[in-house]
C-alpha cells in the first residue's frame, strides 16, 4: 500500500487552517519588524520564526512533502509550548505578542492544538506496512 495524500479529505481543512496562520503570522511579523523592531526584538524575531514554520508546514502538507511536514509540525509543537510558557513566566521579555504567546491565546488557542492535529494527520496517512 502506498502513502495517502496529505492534502485531501481532512487534509484540505488542515492545509486551509495552516495557510491562514501562515498568512496572519507573516503579516504580523512583517508589520512588527518594519514598524518598531527595537521595542521587542525577542518577541518579533520569534514572530518571524513562527511565520516561517507555518509557511513551511502549509507548503509541505499541501505538496505532500512528508519529512518537511513532520519537522515543521514538531518544531511548531515545541515552539508554541516553549514560547507560551516563557511568555507566562517572563512576561516582561514579551512586551508585544507573538502568535505563540500564552499558548496562542490571541488566536483562540488554535496554535496550541494545530501542531498535534498536523502530527496525528501525518501519522494517520503514513505508509502502511501491510
Amino acid at each position: 500500500m502506498s502513502e495517502r495524500s496529505t492534502s485531501t479529505g481532512p487534509g484540505r481543512v488542515l492545509v486551509a487552517v495552516y495557510a491562514i496562520f501562515a498568512l496572519s503570522a507573516t503579516a504580523r511579523s512583517v508589520v512588527q519588524i518594519a514598524t518598531d523592531f527595537g521595542a521587542a526584538p525577542l518577541a518579533y524575531t520569534l514572530s518571524a520564526f513562527a511565520a516561517a514554520v507555518y509557511i513551511a508546514a502549509t507548503v509541505a502538507l499541501a505538496r505532500g512533502i512528508r519529512p518537511m511536514a513532520w519537522t515543521a509540525c514538531a518544531i511548531e509543537a515545541v515552539g508554541v509550548f516553549t514560547v507560551g510558557t516563557i511568555s507566562v513566566v517572563a512576561s516582561e521579555d514579551f512586551p508585544d505578542a507573538t502568535v505563540w504567546s500564552v499558548y496562542g491565546q490571541g488566536y483562540g488557542y488554535v496554535p496550541a492544538v494545530l501542531p498535534f492535529l498536523g502530527l496525528v494527520w501525518l501519522w494517520h496517512t503514513r505508509e502502511s506496512r501491510e
Binding site: 484540505r12 492545509v15 486551509a16 505578542a97
Partner: protein, 117 residues
Amino acid sequence: MAWVLTLMSLVIMAWASALSIRNRPVNDALFYAAAALEVAVVAVVIGGFIALGATDRSVDGITFVGYLITIVLVLPIGVAWGASDKSRWGTGVVVIAAFLVIVLSWRVVQIWQGTHV
C-alpha cells in the same frame, strides 16, 4: 456593514456545515451564495478605500489596506481549495473561509475605529 457581512457569512457557514455533515461537496447553490457574499465583501472594501481616502482622522492605513486586500482574497481561495475536494472536508473549508470573513470584517472595524491593540 460588518453586520451585513457577518449575517451573510453565518448563513454560508450554516449551509456549508449542513452539507459537510451530510458528506456533500460544494454544490452550485453554495457556490453562488459564496459569490454573493464576495460581491458584498468587494462593495465594503471599495467603501473602505473611499472612506480611508476621505477621512481626516489618523487611521493605521497600511494595516487597514492589508486587511481589506486579505478579506477580498479569502473566499475565492477558500472556495477554490474547498471545491477541489469532493468530500465533506471540501465544504468544511468553506465553513472556515466564511468564519474568517467574519473575523476579518470585525478586525477592519477595529482598525478603522483605532481600537485594535
